[in-house]
Every structure is written in C-alpha cells, then in structure tokens.
C-alpha cells in the first residue's frame, strides 16, 4: 500500500461523504429544532428518484437537482402534516414514510421511468480547481470534485453559522430545547419547526440526488442502501453539531471507501464482512458514545399549546 493508495482512498471517501453530509447537516438543523426524521433515508431515496426523473425529462443537471430537492421537501412536508397537523408520533410517522418511500420509488421506477432501469441520465461533471487540484496526494481528493461536493463542504460552516450566529438559529435551539419557554418569548414554535423540517428535506433531497446524479446516472431500487440511517447516526455521533456531524461522516466514509478498495485489492476477507464494515463502525461508535450524549431536550416531542 503506497501513498498513492491512500490518496485514491481519500478521493473515494470524499465522493462518498458528500451525499451523507448533505443529509446529516439537514438532520442537525431539524433535530436542533426538536424534530427527528427517521425518514431521512426516505427523503434521500425520493430525492435520488426525482433527481433522475428530472434529469431524464429535462436533460439539464440544474433542473435535475431542483427536482431532487423538491423530492426531499415533499417527504418532509408529508412528515410535517402528519406530525404537526395531525399530531402523529414523529418516529412512527418516520418509519411509515421510509416504507412508503421504498415502495413508491420501486413501483414508479417501473411504471413511470419505464422498465429500462439502466437508462442513464445526465450526470455531474467534475470541476477541478486550477492549481489546488495539483497539490500532491490531497489535491485530487479535495479539489477535483463536482460542484455539489464543494457545496457540501461549504455547507458545514454555513450551517454552523446559521445555528450559532443568527436569530433564526437561536429560535431553532429554543424550540428544540424548551418549546413552551420559546413560545412565551414570542417565538412561533410551529413555524420554526416547519422551517427546520423543510430545510432538512431540501438538503436530504439534494444528498439523495447526488447519489444518483453524481454517480452513474441510474436509479436502482433502494439505491440509498441505508445511508440515510448512517446520516442519522452521524448526527448523534457528532453531538448535534455541524462540525461534529462532518467528522462522523468523514469517519464512516473513510471506512466505506476502505472496504471498497479492500475488495478491489482482493484481500482474503469475505466480502460480506467488508460491505458490513461501515455499518459495524456505526453501531460500535454509537454503542460506545451514545450514553454520554445529550440530545435537544424536546427532540421528537410534538408541541401542543
């Protein structure tokens, strides 16, 4: 294993991390406001699907991402209607939505996109940044990616700034911690939670879109393969902070990239074990650290006046 091998590992990890990062950042925003999205996976899956559908219909990558975003927002809106208007339990609604998302995208794949599941759409181009992308070893990994990947990294400080330096961010923290108190300060709890939830849907939708549009440009059933859940775990592991979530996402992605490359190396390890590695790391990380974490006090609790 040479330095080159590591450099390639980094390239792969960063490409893998970007979709996860979008979803995890969205979830950080949402959970800060006390709204948990078990259907993060479903948001990504629908985003991945509508992204491809948009790309096939328009042939335009910007339109494709806009429809991916809309797909995520759609799932978020259903969650919001179920929980904020009809008072459904957030976790239960989330589980149901995941099942629904999987069923609906698989069904529509055949009936709307046609049975030709291998039909590929426009995909994102790489956009190397001059000079920086020539830095040895890390240049390619960090600065020879698509625009969406750059945006994912810029989103980390942006979300941090939003949550800690703006009044909107303070309001989100307030409604996620003590909604009744926030209300008595004049914060509109429901509006704030809607905003956080829809923002999460948008980011998760883009993340899902990036999975398909940033890759092969095809949608296969259950293309997200549980990474929405890894994003959920990354939020906890990252202590509900954007930078923490970024760290967690990078860890999981490095492990994932490692297992892919390890398969290619043909090491004498059963490939099933390698494929399971990122999930295993997730479980171990959570089991080891979760007891020391303090979630927002009003997480997953619906607010009634």
């Amino acid at each position: 294993m040479t330095l080159d091998w590591f450099s390639l590992l980094l390239v792969a990890a960063i490409a893998l991390a970007a979709p996860l990062l979008f979803a995890a950042l969205g979830e950080v925003i949402s959970e800060t406001a006390g709204v948990i999205n078990i259907e993060l996976e479903g948001m990504m899956l629908v985003g991945a699907f509508t992204g491809i559908a948009g790309a096939l219909a328009s042939g335009n990558i910007a339109v494709a991402f806009a429809s991916a975003l809309a797909g995520g927002v759609l799932v978020a809106a259903v969650q919001g209607i179920a929980c904020f208007i009809f008072g459904a339990n957030q976790v239960v609604a989330g589980i149901v939505l995941n099942i629904l998302a999987l069923g609906a995208t698989t069904f529509l794949l055949v009936s709307a996109l046609g049975a030709d599941v291998t039909k590929s759409a426009v995909t994102l181009e790489r956009l190397p940044i001059p000079i920086l992308s020539d830095i040895p070893y890390i240049g390619r990994a960090l600065f020879d990616q698509s625009i969406a990947v750059y945006l994912a990294y810029l989103a980390v400080p942006a979300v941090w700034w939003l949550l800690t330096r703006t009044r909107f961010g303070l309001a989100l923290k307030a409604v996620g911690e003590r909604p009744a108190a926030a209300e008595s300060m004049g914060v509109n709890v429901l509006k704030s939670r809607w905003a956080a939830l829809l923002l999460c849907g948008a980011l998760a939708g883009i993340g899902g879109g990036l999975l398909t549009l940033g890759g092969l440009g095809v949608f296969t059933p259950n293309v997200t393969k549980g990474i929405g859940f890894i994003a959920l775990a990354a939020v906890i592991f990252g202590r509900w902070k954007p930078v923490g979530a970024f760290g967690a996402v990078m860890l999981f992605s490095l492990v994932d990239a490692f297992q892919i490359r390890a398969q290619a190396l043909g090491l004498p390890i059963p490939y099933q074990l390698l494929v399971a590695l990122p999930y295993l790391v997730t479980i171990i990380a959570l089991a080891a650290f979760v007891s020391r974490m303090r979630p927002p006090a009003a997480l997953a609790i619906n607010y009634e006046r």
């Binding site: 009044r167 303070l170 923290k173 911690e177 003590r178 108190a181 209300e183 008595s184 004049g186 914060v187």
Partner: protein, 510 residues
C-alpha cells in the same frame, strides 16, 4: 397605591371565565391594576392564580370575559401580543432556554418584539440593564450554569428590556433565599415607583403585607375580594383564602431523646455535578432514627446533589453511604426504596414526576411492585384504585379525578402528588429537598405535621430548605452547607436565622 395614584386603572381583566375538563379554573374573575402599584394575588394551591395571569399574558384564552389595557380591549392570541403591549411575565417555571446564554436569550426575546439586535448588542443590553437595576447578571453565562436567583433576574431583565409597563411575577420568592427575596422586594418597589404596575403571586403573607399596595384573594376559581394592604392582617387574609380558620397549634420541635445508633451514615461523600455549583466535597453526617436533620444552605450549595446521591439517583464520586451499618452506596434507587428510603427531589420534573402520566399512575409507580398491589406481575386494579383515592384525599390533591394528566395540575398540587407518593410508603428514612416549595400555607402546615409524625414514629428525616424559619421550627439539628462542604452543625434549639445566615455565607462559626 402611591398618593398621587392615577384615577383609572391601567389594566382591567373583566369577568374572566376559564374551564378545563372537570375544573373551573376561573369563574367570572375581575381584577385591575394601576400604574405604579404592587397588586398581590393570593390563594390556595389550585385557586386559579396562574391561570388568571396566563390569560392576561395571552398564554391561555378565556372562555369568556376580556382584558383591557388603557380602556381598549386586547385581542391576545399569544404572548407575542401581550409583550408588544408591554406586558411581561416571570413564570413559575422560568421561560429561559437553558442551553443558550443570557445574552442569546435576550436577543431571541427582543427579536420577537420586532427589534432586531445582534448577539453583541444583546450582551450590551444585558450589561446596561444589569447596571441600571443593580442586578449583576453575567451576559455571557449559559443560563443552565446560573443559580435560580440569577436565572430569575435574567428573566426580569428580559421583561425590563422590553419596557414592560405591566409586570407579572408568579411566586418569585418561593425559590429565593431570604437575602435574595429582600433584594427582589427592593427592586419591585423601585420599579413601582417608576410607574410599572406589578401583579405579584405569592404564598408568603408576611411578604405580601410588607410590599403590596392592594391584595386580591382567589378561592377555588372565584374572586373573594380585593383589600388594601394597610387594612389587612395575616389572619384576615388567611380567612379569605380558606373560608374558615381552625387554630392549628404550631408545636415547636423541642429536644427529644434520640437513639444511640444512627440509621444512615454518610462518610466523606463527594459528588460531581454538571456545573461547578452543586458539587459536594467530603461531606460526613449521621442521621438518627427519630430526628429531623435540617439542611440549610443557599440554593446550589450541594444539598440537592447530596440528597440525590443518598437516594441513589446520582452517582457517588467518592465516599460511602451506610444504612443500618450496611454499605448501600452501590445499591440502585429501587433497592434503596425497598429498604425504606423515600426521596422528595428538588426538581419534580427532573425526577419522579411524569407530567404526561395520570395522577393515579404517578402515585402508584413506585409501589406497584408491592405485594398489596400486584401478584405475580399482575396488577390488582381494585386495591390500586382504593389506594389512589385514599392518597388523593389524605393529601388533599385538588384534581377532578385520578385519571387526569398530572401535568395539568397547578404547581402546588403537582408537588402534593410527589409528597403523597413518597410519604404514603411509610418510609424509615426520608430525604426531602425543598418539599414545601410552591405549597400554600395550609399545605405547608400539613407537610410539617406529617414530617413530625414520621419522626415520632421513628423515621430518620433529612430535610433541606432555604427557608431558615421553617428549618428552625421543624428540625432537631441543622447542618449548614457552604459551597458543597459542611460549614457546621448546630442544635435547632436556640439557633437563630442570623447565626445560620452567617454560616450559609461561609463565615466560620467558632
């Protein structure tokens, strides 16, 4: 009211009626407030005081009746509306966000009044207001790291920053030390002199008589009357509150023989806490059967954490706790309960009170494993129902029925649920922290009577309070904590608040 009082009230609540399932919290209640007056509102637990103020503040909507400010009816749909009219409310449970700093809380609160300020400007505002009112609140401290007294000041600043003309305070002094209470009284008097109208809910008659201009009394949702403070006495007010008055003789503790062997021994106990305040360092004490050991100390001196560690709710960092000679430091809460330890936690919301469960469930959970109430894991519903009915009656919990959600009870009645649950287990060790906080006068007397009865029956009682007069009246000995260490142990007989106050402030007794 000052002599140059305006002739028309600034705020009028007219014929307010508000019902909840099973209770009429306010029945055609009218009350008014002049600029520059302190108007106290009294009443037993559950009388409807908080409900009335919540309606004036727009937190609850009345079934009928209206609130008028300067003669114009207010359409209050939320606190936002009340705040924009200059009505501020310091609630029984503070409405600060614990994970934000004081300045950040200020920014949030101001920005919703349409005044967009940055965190930097918020910090400046807190500084300026603190200085102006002599309140000394650190703007950059996290709210969760502040003492209760400081949190309350932060809450007051929030209202003052929005130029409140009407200020409502719900039992502000029930969480304060005597010193802090006196400072608050001063501040309120100064604010009134500046023309602010103040509604003050309190259970402390003597305090009310001292600082209020007028006093209104509610009883079971109805307005009994409004009197000038000058013409009222403690007795006349108490009569208005409860109807008739029986002369309950107050027996002082006196000195009684106690057993030679302690029931509970604490050796070199140290306990860590989330914040620096509340840590316990190397505390040793002995608790004898048949005695009440009072625990004095300003809030945040470690009394909460010490009792929690003894009850098993909090981990012991160092040291040992022995019950009848056995080391129980590593026993679970449950195991300690089985051995006869009862615990009334300082913050019922943090420990042992589940607002979303019914009153009956809250009463039964800790005793459900008892042979009387379950057999082979199956609950005996009949026996449970009888027990719950009895507890509600014995402890005078004002609730429409046992199946009412406990969180909807008035503050004092929630506290009664916790007390009923812990006391009805016939404990041999009672660890009680701020048990009478938020209770009305009659219930405080009832709690004291029960504590004395348990002590006389041989229970060992540790009883923490910030009210020194209560401690002196109830205790046999008083242990004083200062910054998590034992500052001294004195006999209650002959102890004075002054002497205890000195110890509480860290002056060593010789």
């Amino acid at each position: 009211m000052p002599d140059d009082a305006p002739t028309r009230p600034m705020l009028v609540a007219d014929q307010i009626t508000k019902s909840y399932p099973g209770v009429v919290a306010n029945h055609e209640v009218s009350i008014d407030l002049y600029a520059g007056e302190i108007h106290a509102v009294l009443g037993e637990n559950g009388a409807g005081k908080t409900t009335l103020m919540a309606i004036i503040y727009g937190l609850a909507r009345p079934d009928s009746g209206e609130v008028r400010l300067d003669g114009t009816p207010l359409a209050l749909h939320s606190p936002k509306d009340a705040l924009s009219h200059g009505i501020g409310f310091v609630q029984q449970h503070f409405s600060l966000i614990p994970t934000l700093t004081v300045a950040q809380n200020m920014v949030l609160s101001l920005s919703n009044s349409g005044e967009k300020v940055s965190v930097g400007e918020g910090t400046e505002r807190v500084r300026a207001l603190s200085a102006r009112y002599g309140l000394d609140v650190p703007p950059e401290a996290l709210v969760s790291s502040l003492s209760v007294g400081l949190q309350q000041r932060a809450e007051l600043l929030k209202a003052l920053a929005r130029n409140a003309r009407v200020l409502i305070l719900d039992e502000p002094t029930s969480v304060l030390t005597p010193q802090e209470s006196a400072e608050l009284s001063d501040l309120l008097t100064r604010l009134a002199a500046d023309g602010v109208g103040i509604f003050l809910i309190s259970h402390k008659l003597e305090e009310v008589l001292r600082i209020a201009d007028r006093i209104s009394v509610l009883r079971r949702g109805r307005m009994i009357g409004t009197v000038a403070a000058k013409t009222a006495t403690q007795r006349s007010l108490a009569e208005m509150m409860v109807g008739e008055l029986s002369d309950a003789p107050v027996v002082s503790a006196g000195h009684r023989p106690r057993s030679e062997t302690p029931r509970l021994v604490v050796e070199n106990l140290s306990v860590r806490s989330e914040s620096k305040r509340g840590e316990v360092h190397d505390v040793s004490l002995e608790l004898f059967p048949g005695e009440v050991l009072g625990i004095a100390g300003v809030e945040g001196s470690g009394q909460v954490e010490m009792l929690e560690a003894m009850a098993g709710v909090r981990q012991v960092t160092h040291g040992r706790i022995r019950l009848d000679g056995d080391d129980i430091s590593s026993l679970t809460v449950r195991q300690r309960q089985r051995r006869g330890i009862a615990h009334i936690a300082a913050d019922r919301h943090a420990a042992g009170f589940v607002a979303s469960l019914s009153v009956a469930d809250n009463l039964v959970v800790p005793v459900a494993g008892d042979r009387r109430f379950s057999q082979g894991g199956i609950l005996r519903r009949g026996a449970i129902r009888d027990f719950v009915k009895q507890a509600i009656e014995d402890f005078d919990i004002r609730v429409a029925g046992p199946d009412v959600e406990a969180g909807t009870l008035s503050g004092g009645n929630q506290q009664r649920v916790v007390i009923a649950r812990e006391f009805s287990r016939q404990p041999s060790v009672v660890l009680s922290c701020f048990a009478t906080r938020g209770l009305d006068f009659a219930s405080i007397v009832a709690v004291h009577e029960r504590v004395r009865a348990m002590r006389d029956a041989g229970a060992a009682v540790a009883y923490a309070s910030v009210d020194l007069d209560e401690l002196i009246a109830l205790s046999d000995r008083i242990l004083v904590l200062y910054q998590g260490r034992v500052a001294g142990i004195v006999d209650a007989e002959g102890a004075t608040s002054e002497r205890l106050g000195l110890l509480m402030g860290g002056s060593v007794l010789t």
